[in-house]
């Protein structure tokens, strides 16, 4: 929802980043306020993934210039775990399998690291168990998943639901969902989308990174941005996504080319 003059959660200015020495992001600007849902769309190789990984602080994605201010703090100076504890959440396109570490332990340690950051006492195993049972309902997950190793042997849909479970637990200020719809059948997509919608509030914001309009039928964005060649070249409301769906990306690219005069 768009709220007049709500708090600016994230402000990105002229962000450039490279991977293995190849420049990918070439000056990204984006402002996200509390309550908003943004969708970033764009063709393959446009820099969407790099943008999300750079914000989260993946070491392989090197920011070369520009700034990213999160809740008044310079995000780029923070370690990845500090960003997470401060409330930046990235739902992975391909969640990793962690053999030998139980999902429950993983969730508890993650949750307590966030609590610690907020100056709260860590939850013990009993209290945590009560909390996690509530959160499981958000994504309609069976408690049996808690005792399995993190994502190990999970189906594609289960992995994505596990991501949203983590999000429900950690209650981030800003959640970046990287291609969360990829590889999901329609039922799983509905569950995941419903989870995201339940968690969205006037206090937080969501950035959806997606290739297809399909997800946006279930999670309705306030803003749609088109990324190409490492920049956001067009922004609009939710109707832009529908236009992209029917007309493809070429017309936006052409339009941008004439505007910039490339």
């Amino acid at each position: 929802m768009i709220i007049e003059n709500s708090e600016i959660l994230l402000s990105v200015k002229d962000l450039t980043a490279e991977v293995d020495g190849n420049p990918i992001l070439k000056g990204v600007n984006l402002e996200v306020r509390a309550g908003e849902i943004h969708a970033i769309m764009g063709p393959n190789g446009s820099g969407k993934r790099t943008f999300s990984k750079a914000l989260a602080g993946h070491p392989a994605y090197e920011v070369t210039s520009g700034e990213a201010i999160f809740l008044g703090k310079n995000l780029l100076e923070m370690e990845p775990e500090e960003r997470a504890r401060a409330g930046v959440f990235l739902a992975f396109q391909y969640p990793l399998e962690i053999p030998g570490v139980s999902n429950l332990d993983f969730l508890r340690v993650a949750y307590n690291s966030r609590r610690k950051e907020q100056g709260l006492e860590e939850l013990d195993a009993f209290d945590f168990d009560d909390l996690i049972q509530e959160k499981l309902d958000v994504v309609k997950m069976d408690a049996a998943f808690l005792n399995r190793s993190v994502n190990e042997g999970f189906s594609g849909g289960e992995k994505k639901r596990n991501e949203i479970l983590q999000m429900a637990l950690l209650e981030p200020k800003i959640a970046i969902l990287d291609e969360t719809d990829s590889g999901l059948d329609i039922d799983a997509l509905k569950i995941v989308a419903s989870g995201v919608n339940q968690l969205a509030s006037s206090e937080n914001a969501t950035i959806l990174i997606t290739h297809y309009q399909r997800l946006l039928n279930y999670i309705v964005p306030d803003y749609v941005h088109v990324m190409a060649g490492g920049r956001i070249i067009k922004s609009g409301g939710k109707e832009l996504a529908l236009e992209l769906e029917s007309r493809g990306y070429d017309w936006v690219l052409e339009q941008a080319a004439t505007e910039v005069g490339v």
């Binding site: 602080g57 070491p59 775990e81 992975f92 030998g100 139980s102 993983f106 690291s113 950051e117």
Partner: protein, 479 residues
């Protein structure tokens, strides 16, 4: 290596200090004269000298084995000092007050308090410094139960008939090159004897410390568990940091008679050399247990984190019917460390069972091999073995190998082998980090999960220690 992880400081080896102590050191080199000198210094009976000389003559005819997958420059056996002992040590220790304070302080620094009031409450310790045992705690209490726990040198003098009966009965003098060398020059070690139907009331533990720079350590441990007895024994090892390599060639022999059980645990943290592979201990060890009696059981648990090269195969020979052999191992290598370790389970008696759980963790540029033999002899009716060998790679430059050898000569035997390989990389760590979990915690969680089956076998206080040790060793190794 990622920038984030690079900033985590590599934990230095905190046991690398040298104790400045006056030592009685014999000249470098090995000859019959040197062996006679060692034997004389230790005031050994004639049979012991004969044992040593026989081993030495056999050793001269043997060649160093080359079948392993570790690499090291040739060892000059004439350049090693075969005996070094702190000078002030009286022959027979009546109380700890007679121990050189510098030594007590050394062990204190290592976390092994020997002083009466600070002792670990339920662990008796035999502390070995270079070539000699400096103190054995709780001896009187143990003696009340009939348990003998002392240095092997003392045992040779005080209990010659037991030593003569069992020494070399499991690992014969000519068993292999390093066992022969050890038999010729062994300087000290621990001796444990548990009488019939006795459950040893506390954990027994030996702490080995190499201090001198050019000294080889050749210790010899002998544990005899009489019928119906039980003992749990733990050894720990550290050494100072030197640029040169030091040889450690030990022999451990275990004998379990009818219905006896021996649990032998090792936490090995010898100096591993620096990150470029300079210095460190060559740990070439022969460990073997004989399940001689029916229903006997021998269990090896090892956590190997140190040494430039680790080369050892704690084994069980299952002779008694229904006897059980177990091997639980975590071997961790980092930087340029090399490990070639595993076990041998030799099934001879009927319905003998063995379990092998091996966890190899390789980080940095290290190489970690599991090598194991499961052998079922023709008469071992109903023998069973289960082996599981898991490898975990950390980073992109580490190597892991598995060499399982299986020889079955009895068609009623059941032998199972499972193996897996996993990897901790930058992406896993980023996944943890993105959930607010630091790299240290992430590694520690993954390693604990990976090693759980083995740590569960360790006495509790040592399991915690082992867990921490592994995490420390791996700090800064990922990326």
């Amino acid at each position: 290596m990622s920038a984030t992880v690079k900033t985590i400081v590599n934990q230095p080896y905190k046991y690398g200090f040298v104790t400045d102590i006056e030592a009685d050191t014999i000249p470098r080199g090995l000859s019959e004269d040197v062996i006679r000198l060692i034997s004389a210094k230790k005031e050994e009976p004639e049979f012991m000298l004969e044992f040593r000389l026989r081993a030495y003559r056999q050793w001269l005819k043997m060649t160093e084995p080359t079948w392993h997958s570790v690499q090291y420059p040739p060892i000059n056996y004439q350049d090693i000092i075969y005996y070094s002992a702190p000078k002030k040590k009286p022959k027979q220790l009546n109380s700890l007050e007679e121990v050189d304070p510098a030594l007590l302080e050394t062990f204190e620094k290592l976390g092994i308090p020997l002083a009466e009031q600070k002792r670990l409450t339920n662990v008796a310790v035999d502390a070995i410094f270079d070539s000699v045992s400096v103190a054995t705690t709780f001896r009187e209490k143990l003696a009340k139960e009939g348990v003998i726990f002392c240095s092997i040198s003392e045992a040779v003098r005080e209990y010659p008939e037991l030593v003569q009966k069992y020494l070399g009965s499991v690992v014969p003098t000519a068993d292999n090159y390093f066992a022969a060398l050890n038999s010729a020059v062994f300087s000290d070690g621990s001796f444990v004897y548990i009488p019939k139907n006795t459950k040893c009331p506390m954990e027994l533990s030996t702490y080995f410390r190499i201090n001198s720079g050019d000294t080889g350590q050749f210790e010899r441990t002998l544990i005899v568990a009489e019928e119906g007895s039980y003992v749990s024994y733990l050894e720990g090892c550290t050494a100072p940091m030197y640029d040169t390599n030091q040889l450690h060639a030990a022999v451990v022999e275990l004998i379990a008679l009818d219905n006896a059980e021996i649990k032998y645990s090792t936490v090995q943290n010898w100096y591993a050399g620096d990150e470029n592979g300079k210095g460190g201990i060559y740990n070439f060890v022969t460990k073997r247990g004989l399940c001689q009696g029916v229903n006997s059981k021998i269990s090896w648990t090892q956590v190997e984190t140190g040494s430039a090269i680790t080369w050892k195969y704690p084994s069980c020979v299952l002779i008694g019917d229904n006897s059980v052999g177990e091997f639980y191992s975590v071997a961790l290598t980092n930087n340029k460390q090399q490990a070639d370790t595993g076990t041998k389970m030799i099934h001879v008696g009927k319905n003998t069972r063995s379990t092998i759980i091996s966890k190899g963790i390789s980080a940095g540029n290290s190489s970690n091999s599991y090598r194991g033999l499961v052998k079922v002899n023709p008469k071992a009716q109903g023998a069973r073995n289960y082996s599981q060998c898991d490898s975990m790679l950390i980073g992109d430059n580490a190597r892991a190998n598995t060499f399982p050898y299986i020889q079955v000569q009895n068609n009623t035997a059941r032998v199972e082998h499972e193996a897996s390989t996993s990897k901790i990389g930058e992406d896993q760590l980023f996944y943890f980090a993105q959930r607010g979990i630091s790299s240290e915690d992430a590694i520690s969680m993954m390693i604990s999960g990976f090693c759980k089956d083995v740590f569960n076998q360790l006495p509790m206080e040592f399991a915690v220690e082992a867990d921490r040790l592994l995490s420390l060793k791996l700090e800064g190794s990922v990326g």
